[in-house]
Symmetry: C2
Subunit: 270 residues, 2 copies
C-alpha cells in the first residue's frame, strides 16, 4: 500500500520481528515505532531488523513531557529526550513525536506549562537537528490537556513550532485529536512544510474509562479521512500516512487479520 505506514501500537500483540514480517507480507512499506518495545529489542538491532526487511521507520513515539516545574524532573526529562533522539537515529527515522506533557500536580497554569515546552524545545532542537531528527509536536485532544498534553490544537502546536526553524520543529496532524476543530483546514494550510507526520484513527463513542484506548478502526466513526488527506496534501505534505489505533479489540485479534482490515479500510476511506 503506497504511503501507508503501520504504527506498531496498533498491532501491539506483534513483536518487532513479527511486525517486520507481517508488514512485508502485506506489502506495507512503513512502520511507526514506540520507544518501549524498541528499547527492549535494542534500538540498533531494531533499526537493522527493519532496514533489512526493506521497511521505512516513519516515526518514533515519543519524546516530550516537558511541563514539570521541578528542576530535577526537568533535567531528567531533557536527558530522556536526548536519549529519544538518539534512539530515533538508531532506528533510522527523522521524526520524533512529542507528547508535550500535562499540568504538574496541583498546577492550574496552562500558559506557564506551554512556555516550559517552548523552553525545552529551545534546548533540544539543536541537538535533534545536528542528528537529522525533527521534533514533531503532537497536539492531543483537549480531553488530555490536564494529564498528558497541554497542547490541544494545531494552532497551539504551530504557535510553539514557529519559534524554531521548520526543519527542526514540526507538528503531527492526527485525525483522532483534531477532527472536531472547525479551524483545522486553515491551520493545516498554515502548517505547510511543518507537517512532519500524518496519523489516522477514527473517533468512536462511548469513550472508555480513562479515554486512552477508545480509538476506532478507520471508517467506524466520525472522521472524514478523505477530507483530511486532501487538506494535508494541499498543504504540500507528501509523506507517509500512519495508522495509529489504540484499541483492545484490535489487540485481541490475529495481527495479520487486523492489518488486512486496516488496508481494506484505508483503501475505502481515503
Amino acid at each position: 500500500m503506497t504511503g501507508l505506514s503501520l504504527n506498531q501500537e496498533t498491532i501491539k500483540q506483534w513483536s518487532l520481528p513479527e511486525l517486520a514480517k507481517g508488514c512485508v507480507a502485506a506489502e506495507v512499506r512503513g512502520v511507526g515505532l514506540w520507544r518501549a518495545p524498541v528499547q527492549e529489542y535494542g534500538p540498533e538491532a531494531a533499526g537493522r531488523l527493519l532496514r533489512d526487511a526493506g521497511l521505512t521507520v516513519t516515526s518514533l513515539c515519543r519524546g516530550g513531557f516537558f511541563t514539570a516545574s521541578d528542576a530535577g524532573e526537568r533535567t531528567a526529562a531533557l536527558e530522556d529526550n536526548r536519549r529519544a533522539i538518539d534512539e530515533a537515529v538508531a532506528v533510522g527515522t527523522d521524526v520524533l513525536v512529542l507528547v508535550s506533557g500535562g499540568l504538574p500536580a496541583g498546577s492550574r497554569d496552562l500558559h506557564g506549562a506551554r512556555e516550559r515546552i517552548a523552553d525545552a524545545l529551545a534546548e533540544l532542537a539543536p541537538y535533534a537537528r545536528e542528528r537529522g531528527v525533527r521534533l514533531a509536536i503532537e497536539p492531543l485532544h483537549p480531553m488530555y490537556a490536564s494529564d498528558r498534553c497541554v497542547v490541544s490544537t494545531l494552532a497551539q502546536a504551530l504557535d510553539l513550532a514557529e519559534r524554531f526553524p521548520a526543519d527542526a520543529v514540526g507538528v503531527v496532524v492526527d485525525t483522532y485529536h483534531l477532527w472536531w476543530d472547525d479551524t483545522i483546514a486553515a491551520q493545516i494550510a498554515r502548517a505547510g512544510e511543518r507537517i512532519a507526520a500524518f496519523q489516522l484513527a477514527d473517533w468512536v463513542t462511548p469513550l472508555p474509562e480513562g479515554v486512552l484506548l477508545g480509538r476506532g478502526q478507520l471508517g467506524d466513526g466520525s472522521v472524514d479521512f478523505r477530507w483530511f488527506r486532501e487538506q494535508v496534501e494541499a498543504a504540500g505534505y507528501t509523506g507517509w500516512t500512519e495508522v495509529e489505533i489504540f484499541n483492545p479489540g484490535l489487540w485481541a485479534r490475529d495481527g495479520a487479520e487486523v492489518l488486512g482490515e486496516i488496508i481494506e479500510r484505508y483503501r475505502t476511506v481515503l
Copy 2:
C-alpha cells in the same frame, strides 16, 4: 452566598421542594433547573414553589438537539424546543440553555450539522424573544462533539449567536467545557453581553466511561476559577454563577452537606 446559584443536577438526590428548602436554609438565592424534574413536578407548580421560597431560577436546561437531517426529527425537535421555551417562562427564567446536538448517525459533516443549528435558531429565536427568554448556546467540551454537541468552542458558539440579536441568542460560559482553550480570554471578551450564564465545574481525571459524570467539585481539579470569573466580569457579566457538577460521588451524599461544601469551595476558589 451572593451570586451563587445551585444547578439542581448537582444535588439531584433532592426533590424540587427539598431543593427549595435546602437552598433557603443555606442562603443560596438562585437555582438552575432541568426539564425532566420540572416536567414531573409541573412547570407552573415548580415556578410557584421556587418563587414563593424567594429563589431566582437562573436557567433551564436544556433545549437543543438541532442537528437531525431527517425532516420529521427536525420538526419534532423544534416543537420540543418551543415547549422548553414555554417551560422556561413557567418556571420564571429568562435563560434556556441549548445543547445543540451531535452528528446524526453515520454522518461526518460537522459543517452541515452546525448550519442546521443556525437554521433552528432562526426559527426559534423570535418565539423565545416574544416570551422574554434568551436562547443560550452552550459550547460543550470537544469530547462530546460526535454525540452531544458539535459546538465545541466559545468561538463557534459566538459565530452562531452573532447571527442574531444579542438579547435573543446568547452563550453559556462553562468552565468544565472551556478551561483548556488558550483563546478563551479573547473569546470571553468578544462574548460581552452575549454571556447568558456562567457555570462552574472542575476538570478532574481519570474520566469515567462515557465521560458524562466525571465533573469535579470546585477546587479538586485543573480549573482556575478566579481567573475565569475575572474574565467574565471584565466582559461585563453581572449575572449569577451557577455550580453544575455531575458526579455520582456527590449524589450519594447528604444534599445539605454537599451544598455546604460547595459554598465553602466557592468562597475559596472564587
